[in-house]
């Protein structure tokens, strides 16, 4: 399958991936692409490392959304702030006056009661989506720079887990509308970023399987980051192979007058060909195991970072979406 243009029509795109594959870069690129299309975007950064803001060359933000680029706002998840907001909005509990003791016990409750931290995270996300659908928040798209593959199932499944554990009480009824939003394929998609390397591919395959069996959340696309270019067509590859012959080396060496430089370039090209080849095997495995739309992003050889990198990624994504 190729591009999935309808993905950008949804209201909630969750982006996960193994650590180190460029999850935040891709999330920022998606946000910029959506903003290019005239959408107002909210990015929720769950891991709180502040990577998203650096992609827009903006200082770190807190729990209140800050516009980091025209039409792109970012909020950094803070489960304690989320709890405070939840209590204020839903239960009318007057906790503002005595936040001290509440804050102290909160961390403990969240540790002791499984899923509480996760549900406060995903609940805040779902709440922003619901508010925007009902016209009370300005977002056309909420993008989540979510937990890594190992943790995202627990995070996305938190409302279900809570509903299974808690038979009555206000939190149970709160989970119902969250599940409704998260499970609606017209609203939500869970997307996985990977690279064409062994571990990221195998984690992606595992995650897609787990998401299908354990979650009631629609899957969107797999975004394959850092794809190396194919250097040669077949005939060129044969010619490249023939450069190793004594006659060819002598011909090139005579002109260059320097073996070290020629060796550096030739061994570099061999490494590039070999890397591309092993990665192609992983890509083939991924395609065979996962029947989701795939978007490909090239390996960036430039020094580009920050806003310029985000721009390059957004443009590549746009091309992949056929825009």
């Amino acid at each position: 399958m190729t591009a999935a243009p309808d993905l950008l029509a949804r209201r909630l795109l969750v982006v996960t991936g193994k650590g180190g594959v460029g999850k935040s870069t891709v999330t920022a690129g998606l946000a910029l692409l959506a903003a290019d299309l005239g959408k107002r975007v909210l990015i929720v950064e769950v891991d709180g490392k502040g990577d998203i803001c650096t992609k827009f060359e903006h200082p770190p933000v807190g729990f209140d959304p800050v516009e980091v680029h025209p039409n792109i706002s970012v909020l950094a998840m803070d489960t304690e702030a989320s709890l405070r907001e939840y209590l204020r909005l839903n239960l009318k509990v007057p906790v503002l006056g005595r936040l001290g003791p509440v804050a102290r016990v909160f961390d403990f409750v969240a540790t002791a009661a499984p899923g509480v931290k996760e549900v406060l995270t995903i609940g805040k996300v779902a709440w922003e989506v619901r508010e925007s659908i009902e016209g009370r928040a300005p977002w056309d798209l909420v993008l989540v720079d979510a937990a890594a593959t190992g943790h995202v199932v627990a995070q996305m499944g938190a409302p279900d887990a809570i509903r299974d554990l808690v038979s009555v009480g206000p939190i149970r009824s709160q989970t119902e509308w969250m599940i409704e939003i998260l499970s609606d394929p017209a609203i939500t998609a869970l997307n996985v970023v990977t690279t064409p390397e062994e571990m990221p591919v195998s984690e992606t395959i595992d995650l897609v399987t787990r998401a299908r069996t354990e979650l009631d959340v629609p899957l969107g696309a797999v975004i394959v980051n850092r794809v190396l270019p194919e250097l040669f067509a077949r005939a060129e590859e044969a010619a490249f192979g023939a450069l190793d012959t004594d006659a060819a080396r002598a011909a090139l060496g005579a002109h260059l007058g320097d073996d070290a430089g020629l060796d550096a370039v030739l061994s570099g090209a061999r490494l590039a060909v070999a890397l591309r080849r092993t990665r192609a095997v992983h890509l083939a495995n991924l395609r065979a195991a996962v029947d989701l739309p795939m978007l490909y992003l090239p390996y960036l050889f430039t020094r580009t970072h920050g806003m310029r990198e985000t721009r390059v990624v957004a443009d590549s994504l746009g091309a992949e979406f056929g825009l």
Partner: protein, 398 residues
């Protein structure tokens, strides 16, 4: 240490525990396996690699169909098949969080009935399975257990892929704090003197907490949690003593930490923070492994010059190649294109290599040993592949 190649050899000879850490995706597991393999084939003795990674690849690379929670010996035939001579024994185990927690509960619970009540509680799976820190703690706990058994001369442990590489250092301390904390007593206080109606007699100190918790969670759920922790608390003494012992072991001179990173901005930044923290907190810091680095030939002046000539004189060179009579080199147009392509590829990777070189200078407060492991052109899928990494780690490769 000028003139000498940086190596993990000294650490492997002097230490009993090597803890590998670094951010996700840097290749910790492969480095752990290669370190253990290198030790077993160079210095002898019994070496164990303890990993948390679920990769089947490690099992097959070590010639084992499957690595489980129980330590398994890598057969000598796996060494000899790839031309290695095992001087010691190589063992491997993969941490199963659930099984390890069960064993821990069985050990520390006052009696089997309590242990069963804890393990059968619906909350138990959630707590042991879902919390990232529970993986951290169990990894350190298992390390302690294996070390205390005295069965191995060297243990190489690969730390869990935590969101924050520092989390596992805190895990034993946090676990002790958790069980010893006033908060746990608060939570369980109303349930200690019988349940039912009596449970509503909340003591004064915990009242604000219950007001909030009750409204969020519902009182039934709260009671379930409290009962679970009441049982859990019966393991308090055993747990706390153990957590402290684990913490001491991590600070011990027989232990060393090795930070693994790639020369990419984000993992390297995390590695630097981690190195500083190790020093600040007085953990024994042994080495940095720079994994998957590009060869120095990509930044050489000769290479850059050759790439320029290959591009500028491509047609002339192609004519020369055609004259060699090699069957694959007859098409001068195609050959010229191919020469420009490889020159362009060289320049691409040269940009990445010079970025790596810049990042390398930012390492700052590095320990004595900084080991480079080159980017191998193939995936490591067997003992021979791990042996190649080991050669780089031990500085005795070809």
């Amino acid at each position: 240490m000028s003139g000498e190649r940086a190596s993990l050899g000294g650490l492997v000879a002097a230490k009993e525990i090597i803890v590998l850490c670094g951010s996700g995706g840097v290749g910790k597991t492969s480095i752990a396996a290669a370190t253990a393999l290198g030790a077993a084939s160079r210095t002898g003795g019994k070496v164990l690699v303890l990993t948390i990674d679920p990769a089947k690849r490690l099992a097959s690379a070590l010639g084992l169909a499957e690595i489980g929670n129980v330590e398994t010996r890598v057969p000598d035939s796996a060494f000899t098949e790839v031309g290695l001579t095992p001087r010691g024994e190589l063992w491997a185990a993969m941490l199963d969080t659930k099984q390890s927690w069960d064993a821990l509960v069985m050990r520390h619970a006052p009696d089997e009935a309590t242990a069963r009540r804890i393990i059968d509680n619906a909350l138990y799976d959630n707590i042991t399975g879902r919390f990232v820190q529970s993986h951290d703690y169990i990894a350190m706990e298992r390390l302690f257990e294996v070390h205390a058994s005295g069965a191995y001369d060297l243990i190489v442990i690969d730390t869990p892929p935590t969101r924050n590489a520092l989390d596992f250092l805190e895990a034993p301390h946090r676990m002790a704090e958790f069980f010893g904390g006033r908060l746990l007593r608060w939570l369980t206080a109303p349930y200690r003197f019988g349940g039912g109606r009596g449970a509503r007699l909340v003591n004064l100190a915990s009242r604000p907490f219950y007001q909030v918790a009750d409204r969020i969670l519902g009182s039934q759920f709260l009671q379930d949690i409290a009962e679970f922790f009441l049982n859990f608390q019966s393991m308090y003494d055993g747990f706390v003593a153990r957590a402290r012992a684990v913490e001491r072991l991590l600070h011990d001179k027989r232990t060393t930490f090795v930070v693994v990173t790639t020369l990419e901005a984000s993992p390297l930044h995390e590695a630097r923070v981690f190195c500083e923290e190790l020093v600040t907190r007085d953990f024994p810091f042994g080495a940095i492994v720079l994994n998957k680095t590009l060869p120095a030939s990509f930044t050489s002046a000769e290479g850059a010059r050759a790439a320029t000539v290959l591009t500028d004189d491509a047609e002339e060179l192609a004519a020369g190649l055609a004259a060699t009579g090699e069957p694959a080199l007859g098409d001068a147009g195609l050959d010229a294109r191919m020469l420009r392509t490889i020159a362009g590829s060289y320049r691409n990777f040269a940009v990445v290599a010079s970025r790596e070189a810049e990042l390398r200078t930012e390492l700052g407060r590095a320990p004595d040993v900084v080991v480079d492991v080159p980017n191998l052109d193939v995936d490591v899928h067997d003992l021979a592949g791990l042996a190649r990494i080991a050669e780089a780690l031990f500085g005795d490769g070809a």
